[in-house]
Symmetry: C3
Subunit: 475 residues, 3 copies
C-alpha cells in the first residue's frame, strides 16, 4: 500500500487555494510575514524544558507521541489501546515500554491522519526540524526513528536551542494559581535570554465541585501566606497570586468553565457558598453560580492589575470516565457542548464591558456562536476581543471558517492573532505556519475579489500574523 | 501608513470568485440585471426625506455617519466614545459638534472596516454617488469632505432626485402602528411620482413588557378613534390601522420578537392578560404568551386583508443598558440569540401555514437555522418564504452562506429576493449591487459545475435580483 | 420561457470545482471509482420490487413522482395540492388519476428544482437510465413521458434487471421489527443472485407514545411466538426478531428518535413503564426515558449479536397535522430540530462506547453538531462512526460541508461511506454519483493545496466511495 521510498516534501505554495492569480497574491503576502518572530500568548509547554539548559527530549516517541493527545485519541478511536501506545496507567498497570515498537505502531496507523491538521503539523516537524526526507510509513518508520533519535542527542536539539531556532519572541505557559513558578524563576535567574512567562489559571481554586478543591484551597493558603478561611481572604489570596505571577512577567489570566455564565453575587452570598464549599457541601447550581461570580471578580481584578483575561468555555471534560479513571485527564475525551454567550456574559459585560482597562478574550468550541454571538459582541463592547480558533478548530478549514464568519462583523481589529495552544513544543512553528498561510490565503481572496487593495492587504497580514497578538496581550 | 494619493476604484468584476471561466459567466449574468430598477420591500429610511422636495441631507457627517449604527458600533468597540462621534446624549450632555472633526476621526479609523460590508458600501457610495476618486484616509479626509459637502448643496443631491437616480421602483418604510403617516400622505398629495409606501409595525402596541406600552395603547386609541379598553377593541383598532396603512399603499406588516414563539390563547385568556397589561402588571411569561398569540392574530389578519407578514425574531435588544440609558436604542448594542423555529412556529403554521392567502416571510440572525429549520419549513409550507440575510449577515460571506445553505432545500422560489433594510438612504444602491453580484457569482458557480444550464441561469438571476421581491410582496 | 428543443446533457466533469488543475485531479480520482459496485447499507426501497421477477414499475408517474416526497413537498410549498399530484387521500377522496396530466403538471413546475439535488438526480435518471436527450419542460413533457413509458414495458427495465445494470453489490431495506420478511424470503428462495437484505427497525415497538404501540406489541407477540406481557418477554421477543433478521442476512439495526437521549433504567423501572404502556397510560417524559433506555438495550444486543447500530435522531415528524390526517406520514412535512449528542449519548457511550464489539453509526439533521459534537465523539470513542449527510443534507453543498467540517477532527476512517437512503430505486446510481464526484472534488482539493500526496488520494477515494461502507457494515 505504501511506496517504501515515497518522498516527504512541503510545497512552497501549500495550503493556498488553487486559483493561480489568488495564489500569487497569497505567496506575496505570506512572504511579508514568514520570517517574523513567533508570539505565543497561550499554550501548555512545560516550563521545565527551559529551566534546565541540558534538558533532553528523550526518544522520538517521548517527544512526538506521548505528549500529544491529538494523536493518541485518533488511534484510540480506531481500537488501539492507550497501553499499547505507552501511556502510563494510574494504577501502574503494564503498558508498552519499547519506544521503537510504539513508534512503529504509530507509523503503521499514520494513514488515519490523512487530511487532518495533525498530519500537517507532524510532516512539517519531521521535514523542517529533523530533516526527514521520506514519508512516514510502516516501511520507513525505523529509519525515521533512527534519524530523529540521532538528532535529539545533539546540543542544537535542546529546548533552549530550538526556542531560538524557532524564532520565538515570547512563549506563555499556563500555570495553576497555586504554582510557585520555580521553573520560571530558575529561567529568569539563569540569565538565558528566552522570554518565557507564566499565565494565571485559577480553575482549580474556583471550581467548588472539583473533589480536589479543598486541597487546592489549602495549597493556596500555603503559597500565598494568607489563611484562606473565608471569602474575603480567598479574594486577597487570589490577588496576591496574580501579583506574584505578574512579578514573573505574566500578562494574562485564563479560565475554563463549562459555560460562560456570569452573575454578581453579594459578598454575603459568596461567603455562604464559599463556606459551604469549605465544608465539602457545595452543590451543582451553587457551584455554577460561584464560578459565574468569580468570572466577574476576575474581570474586576483584571481592570485593577491590567492582566488580560482569557475565557475558554464549552468543553465537557472527561466525557469517558473509565478512561479518565485508568489514565487521568487530557486523554482526548473532552467533548464540546453548545455554548451561549449573549445572555450568559451580559452581567459581566454590563458591569465591565465598557471599561477601557479590560481585555476579555473569548474562545469557543461552538462555531455556531461565531456569526450569531461572538462577532456581534466583539463588534460592540470595547472589552471583548475574539481568540483564534481553538483546539479542534485550529485547522485549515477551521481557520477559514473563522475568517469568513467572524471578520465581516467583528472586524479584524477586534481579533487578537494566533494562539498555538499546544503541549507539543516542536509543533509550534508548524502551527503558526498554518495560521499565516491560511491568513495570507484569506486576505489574497479579499484582494482578488476587489474588497481591499494591496496596501490594506500588506497591513492586514502583518497585523494578523504578528502585531495583533502583541498589542492585545501587551507583549 | 496610508499613501496620501491612493486611488479609490471599483473593479467591474468585483466580488466574483477568482476562477476566470466562472467569472466570465458571472459577469454575463450580472449584465442581465445591473440596470434593473431597485425593489426595496423592507427598510428604515425616514419618509420625511421625501415629504419635503427641498429636504437637504446636511453635512457629509449628517448623511454618512450619524444615521449608521453599523459604523459607530465598530468605532465604539475600539474605545472611541459616541460623544466624540457627535451622537446626541439623552441628557443633553456635551458631544462633539464639529462635523469636520468627526469626519476626520472616522477617516483616521476607517482601516477598522477593512474587509467588512460597511467599507464596500461606503466606498461604493463615495465613488458612484459623489465621484470620489481617492481612498478615504487620514490624509484625504478633508478633501473628500469638501467634495461631498459641495455636491450636497446641488439640487441633484436632494433625496427625491437621488431616489430617481438610484432607479428605485418602490421603497417601503417601517412605521409604528400609531403613526399617522403624515409624511406618506404629504408625498402622495405632492404629486411626486416616487413610490414610497409604509409598512405596519405593531411591536410597540403588542409588547406588554415595554415600559411605554400603556402610552402606546392610549396613542392607538387616539389615532384609531376606537377606545382601546379591552382585547376586542384592541383587535378592532389594529385592524383599523392596518386598513389605514393599506389605504396609503402598504403591502406588508413587520414584527420583531425575541423568539418566534406562537400560541393560540382563548379570547378570555387574551382579555385577562390584556387587562393585566392595562394595569401595568403583565409579567414575563404572560407577556411572551401574549406576543405569541398576537403573532397568530396578525397571521389571521393577513389572510383577511392580504398584507404580507414579515417576522424578525432573535435580536436581544439593548444588550448594553448603560449605553442605552445614555444614547437610546439602535446604538449597535443589539446582539443575536439562538432561535428555534420548528417548534415555536408550529401552532401558527398548523392553523394558517397551509392557507393560500398567507405569505409569512421569515428572517433570522441565527444562521444555524438555515439548513436545519428554515429551508425545510419553506420547502414544505405554502405560506412560508425566506427573507434574504438580515443585518450582520447582509454581507458577501453571509449572502454566499445563504445561497449555499438555503437554496438546495428550500428552492430559489421559496425565497423573496433582497431586503436592503437600511436607514442609510445612500447605501441602497451599494447594497443591491452586492446582492446582485453575489447572486451572479452563486449562479455562475452552478453553471460552471454543470448543475444548471445558461437558460436556467438567465431566469434565476432575474428572479433573484428583481422578480421574486415584486411577486412576494405583490408590488 | 423554455426553448422546446433544449438539450439534456451531463457534463463528464460535472460537480467539480472550476479550477482547471484541481478539476483534472478530481477527474483522475473519480476515474478510479466510477465503475466500482454500489454498496447501499441504508435505504427504503420496497423489497417487493425484487420478490416478483416480473414486477413492473407502472407509469413514469408511478416510478418517478409518487414515491418521492422530495419532489411533491416542493410543489406543495408552491401551492400545488397533493390531490392534483395523485397522492392518495386516506379518506379515499378524489385525487387526480390521469398520470399524463400529473406528469405535465410536474414538468411545468420543474423549474422550481433549479440547483436542487432533486434536479440533479432526476436529470441523471432521465439521461442515463432512460436515454432522454432533451430537457424536461412543459413542451417536452409528453414526449419524455412516452419515451419512459415505452422503456418501462421492456424486460431490461424490470427491477431485477436494473439492480444488475446499476451494479448494486448489496441493497439493504428497512423493515419493521414485526415484519415477517416474506419478500426477503421469497427473493432468497427464488435463486436470484441479487443481494437484498433487511434492516431491523424497532421504532414502532419502542415508542410508547405511538397510538399504534399496543397493536404493534400484539404483532410482536404473534411474529415472535413469545407472549409479550412484560418487559422481560419484550426483550426476549426483540432478541428473537433480531436473530430472525440476521438469519435473512441483516447486518444492521436502525432507530429514529426525536432526540439521542439515553438513560439506563433499572429492570424494575423499565417494567413499570412498560406496564404503564400496556395500559395505554405511558406519558411524555416516561416514554422518552423508555426510548432512551431502549437505545442502551439495543447497544447491548448489538454487542451480543454483532448487528451494527444506526441512529437517526432529530426529525420532528408530521409537523403539519392536517396534511398527515389527509395523506398520512412521509409527505415532506418532517422538520429537523436542534440535536444535542454530547450529553445525551454519554450514558450509552460510557457503558458501551469503549467496547470493540459495538459500531454505532450516528446520523444528524443538525449540521451544527458536525464540528462541535459529532466529529469529536467519533474521533475518540471506538464504537462511534459518522454517517454520510442525511436527507436534506444529501446534496452537493451538504456533502461538501460534511467533508470540510467532519474530516479534520473525526478523520476519514471514523466515517462509513455513503448511504443513499432512498425510496426511489432509480435514483440510487445518481445519488452515488453525486457522492463520488463530491468526494473526488474534496480529495482533489487536498492534493491541490499540498495536504496529501497522490498516493494517499488514490487510497482515500476508494475508501470513501466503496471500502468504508463494506467495512463498517461488515458487508
Amino acid at each position: 500500500m505504501n511506496n517504501p521510498m515515497a518522498k516527504l516534501t512541503l510545497a512552497p505554495d501549500r495550503y493556498f487555494g488553487p486559483d493561480p492569480r489568488q495564489k500569487e497574491i497569497a505567496l506575496d503576502l505570506y512572504g511579508l510575514v514568514s520570517h517574523l518572530p513567533l508570539v505565543c500568548p497561550h499554550g501548555h509547554v512545560d516550563p521545565r524544558l527551559f529551566a534546565d539548559p541540558d534538558y533532553s527530549f528523550g526518544t522520538p516517541t517521548d517527544l512526538l507521541i506521548l505528549p500529544d493527545h491529538y494523536l493518541f485519541r485518533m488511534l484510540y478511536s480506531q481500537g488501539i489501546s492507550l497501553e499499547s501506545l505507552g501511556l502510563p496507567r494510574r494504577d501502574q498497570g503494564p503498558v508498552e515500554t519499547d519506544h521503537r515498537k510504539i513508534w512503529q505502531l504509530f507509523a503503521d496507523q499514520f494513514y488515519l491522519f490523512r487530511g487532518t491538521p495533525s498530519s500537517l503539523w507532524l510532516n512539517h516537524e519531521l521535514h523542517d526540524i529533523f530533516g526527514v526526507q521520506e514519508k512516514l510509513t510502516s516501511a520507513s518508520a525505523q529509519r525515521i526513528y533512527d534519524l530523529i533519535a540521532a538528532q535529539l542527542t545533539r546540543p542544537e536539539f535542546r529546548p533552549r536551542a530550538l526556542f531560538e531556532r524557532f524564532h520565538i519572541e515570547v512563549l506563555c505557559s499556563t500555570d495553576s494559581a497555586t504554582d510557585t513558578l520555580e521553573d520560571h524563576r530558575a529561567i529568569r535567574l539563569s540569565g538565558w535570554g528566552g522570554r518565557l512567562i507564566p499565565t494565571f489559571r485559577p480553575d482549580a481554586v474556583i471550581n467548588l465541585e472539583s473533589p480536589d478543591w479543598r486541597a487546592q484551597i489549602r495549597a493556596l493558603s500555603t503559597v500565598s501566606g494568607i489563611e484562606v478561611n473565608g471569602y474575603r481572604a480567598y479574594l486577597q489570596a487570589l490577588e496576591q497570586r496574580r501579583a506574584y505571577f505578574k512579578s514573573l512577567g505574566a500578562v494574562a489570566t485564563d479560565q475554563a468553565s463549562l459555560t460562560p455564565y456570569t452573575e454578581a453575587l453579594s459578598a454575603a452570598e459568596a461567603e455562604t457558598i464559599f463556606q459551604s464549599g469549605l465544608r465539602g457541601e457545595a452543590a451543582g447550581a451553587e457551584a455554577a453560580r460561584f464560578t459565574g461570580h468569580m468570572l466577574m471578580e476576575m474581570a474586576r481584578m483584571s481592570i485593577e492589575d491590567g492582566l488580560v483575561m482569557q475565557l475558554h468555555p464549552g468543553s465537557y471534560r472527561n466525557h469517558n470516565p473509565s478512561l479518565c479513571e485508568a489514565f487521568g485527564p487530557d486523554m482526548g475525551a473532552d467533548i464540546p457542548i453548545a455554548t451561549e454567550y449573549t445572555r450568559n456574559l451580559r452581567p459581566l459585560l454590563n458591569k465591565y464591558g465598557n471599561h477601557p482597562g479590560l481585555t476579555l478574550i473569548l474562545f469557543t468550541l461552538d462555531e455556531g456562536a461565531y456569526t450569531r454571538e461572538l462577532a456581534p459582541l466583539a463588534g460592540h463592547y470595547p472589552a471583548v476581543k475574539l481568540a483564534s480558533p481553538w483546539w479542534f478548530h485550529d485547522s485549515l478549514n477551521g481557520i477559514a471558517r473563522f475568517f469568513d464568519q467572524v471578520m465581516e462583523t467583528a472586524g479584524l481589529y477586534n481579533t487578537v492573532g494566533f494562539h498555538d495552544d499546544t503541549r507539543a513544543f516542536c509543533s509550534i512553528p508548524a502551527r503558526h505556519d498554518v495560521w499565516r498561510r491560511a491568513a495570507a490565503n484569506w486576505i489574497a481572496g479579499l484582494v482578488a475579489r476587489g474588497l481591499i487593495d494591496q496596501e490594506d492587504a500588506a497591513e492586514m497580514i502583518q497585523d494578523v500574523a504578528y502585531r495583533l497578538a502583541k498589542r492585545a496581550y501587551k507583549l
